[in-house]
């Protein structure tokens, strides 16, 4: 790891001000992606701005219509939250399935959403649960937020402060994990919302990161059951192909995971 200077601001305003005054800086919110990347010398920010100790970025609020999670809330805190589990059980289970116990103690929801790793779990939940990403400057709807591999609508220096997830009528998340890395090779979050709309979000498989599977949404809108998905397939041309699996294989997995999510509502289903 190259040399860097560590900063621990106490407020969002101080963090943003540090970012602009120091020039070459990166925000740090758990660091379980950033530190390994820095060790590999693939990133070398001259300044690290730690967001985890900012009180405004912590905490979980649940109401009948939404669950709002502060960006610096750890995966373990989300997984253990009765408020989250009571409102959107698959979201709590998703948080409890990331990495391993020690990773979940440090990694944060905001860090995951800001990084937008194509194999991360949270982006699928944000997209399927019609989330709103709150930043220190504005609110961004999930459909406008994820813009590609490791890329988001966030501007330089903009900080994710919290994410509001819409409480659905019912939802489910199913993923097939890479047997070695345990990252999803295909993860599908399905949500039927209270207004009747259906959202199906796919992570781990897309060439451009998380995406909505529109054909599945249409099929499920007419008949919200796993049967409605039979015969549907994702176009493999937009699907990732690598040593772990070909595009047609992953495309097939997407269909299977969507079916499992719908067949096991209210839970996380994984291998």
């Amino acid at each position: 790891m190259y040399e860097t200077t560590y900063h621990r601001p106490g407020s969002v305003a101080e963090a943003a001000s540090l970012f602009s005054s120091t020039g070459d800086a990166a925000y740090f919110s758990g660091g379980h992606t950033l530190l390994p990347t820095m060790k590999a010398r693939l990133a070398a920010p001259a300044n690290l701005i730690d967001l985890r100790n900012i009180p405004d970025l912590k905490g979980i609020q649940a109401s009948g219509d939404s669950v709002t999670i502060g960006a610096a809330t750890t995966h373990a805190e989300v997984a253990a939250s009765n408020d989250v589990a009571g409102a959107i059980a698959p979201l709590a289970a998703l948080a409890g399935s990331i990495g391993d116990p020690a990773v979940r103690h440090v990694g944060t929801m905001g860090g995951s959403v800001a990084n937008n790793d194509p194999a991360a779990d949270y982006p699928a939940a944000v997209l399927a649960l019609a989330g709103t990403v709150h930043t220190n400057k504005r609110e961004i709807a999930a459909d406008d937020y994820f813009t590609g591999l490791f890329s988001t609508a966030l501007e330089e220096g903009e900080i994710v402060t919290k994410v509001a997830f819409k409480v659905p009528e019912t939802s489910g998340y199913a993923k097939f994990r890479n047997p070695a890395s345990r990252y999803p090779m295909a993860g599908v979050f399905v949500a039927k919302h209270k207004d009747g709309s259906v959202r199906v979000a796919v992570t781990g498989a897309g060439n451009d990161g998380v995406f909505r599977w529109n054909a599945a949404e249409e099929a499920l809108s007419g008949n919200f059951s796993a049967d409605a998905l039979k015969g549907l397939s994702v176009d493999a041309s937009g699907i990732m192909s690598d040593i772990h699996g070909s595009a047609p294989y992953r495309a097939h997995l997407v269909g299977v995971m969507a079916g499992r999510a719908v067949a096991n509502l209210g839970t996380l289903t994984m291998d």
Partner: protein
């Protein structure tokens, strides 16, 4: 450089270290506490697990500067003098180690696991929660036995250093 003060195994330790210093190197290189190991150095293998403010973390992926002000317990802080912590004793009793490289991280993870689940651990949960700790010798079988045994004996036992 960062002035870092961390309470390690009950003792306040202050050092001036480079900002990029990892917690595991603070423990090993600056304090001489070499029980905490560096295995993969990529937050996968779990050989570096310590407790920070009461919860298990991978110290190869925590900056020492970010742990400033924290309370850290390492494998060296578990035993009470010559008396092994119940988890250490169970690993010895059940032959939960062969080469021993992963053992400090295994034990710190196991203690954290019991603290979170209390006496409600079963074999499936133990195996699942060991997802972030690799052992290349034992096949995990005796590690799981040791953790289940110790979880029964640990009820109410606090860590010696806390």
């Amino acid at each position: 450089m960062a002035n870092v003060t961390i309470t390690v195994n009950g003792k306040s330790e202050s050092r001036e270290v480079e900002d990029r210093t990892l917690l595991v190197h603070f423990l090993r290189d600056h304090l001489g506490l070499t029980g905490t190991h560096v295995g993969c150095d990529t937050s996968q293998c779990g050989a570096c697990v310590v407790h920070m403010d009461g919860i298990a973390v991978k110290s190869c992926t925590v900056l020492a500067a970010a742990a400033d002000g924290a309370e850290v317990v390492t494998i060296e802080g578990l035993a009470d003098g010559d008396e092994l912590h119940p988890m250490q004793a169970a690993f010895r009793e059940h032959h939960g180690l062969q080469c021993g490289f992963c053992t400090p991280g295994m034990i710190m993870t196991a203690v954290d696991m019991v603290q979170r689940h209390g006496g409600n651990l079963d074999e499936k949960t133990v195996r699942h929660e060991l997802e972030g700790n690799y052992c290349r010798c034992t096949g995990y079988h005796n590690i799981v036995k040791a953790i289940l045994d110790a979880s029964g004996k640990m009820g109410g036992v606090q860590q010696a250093a806390e």
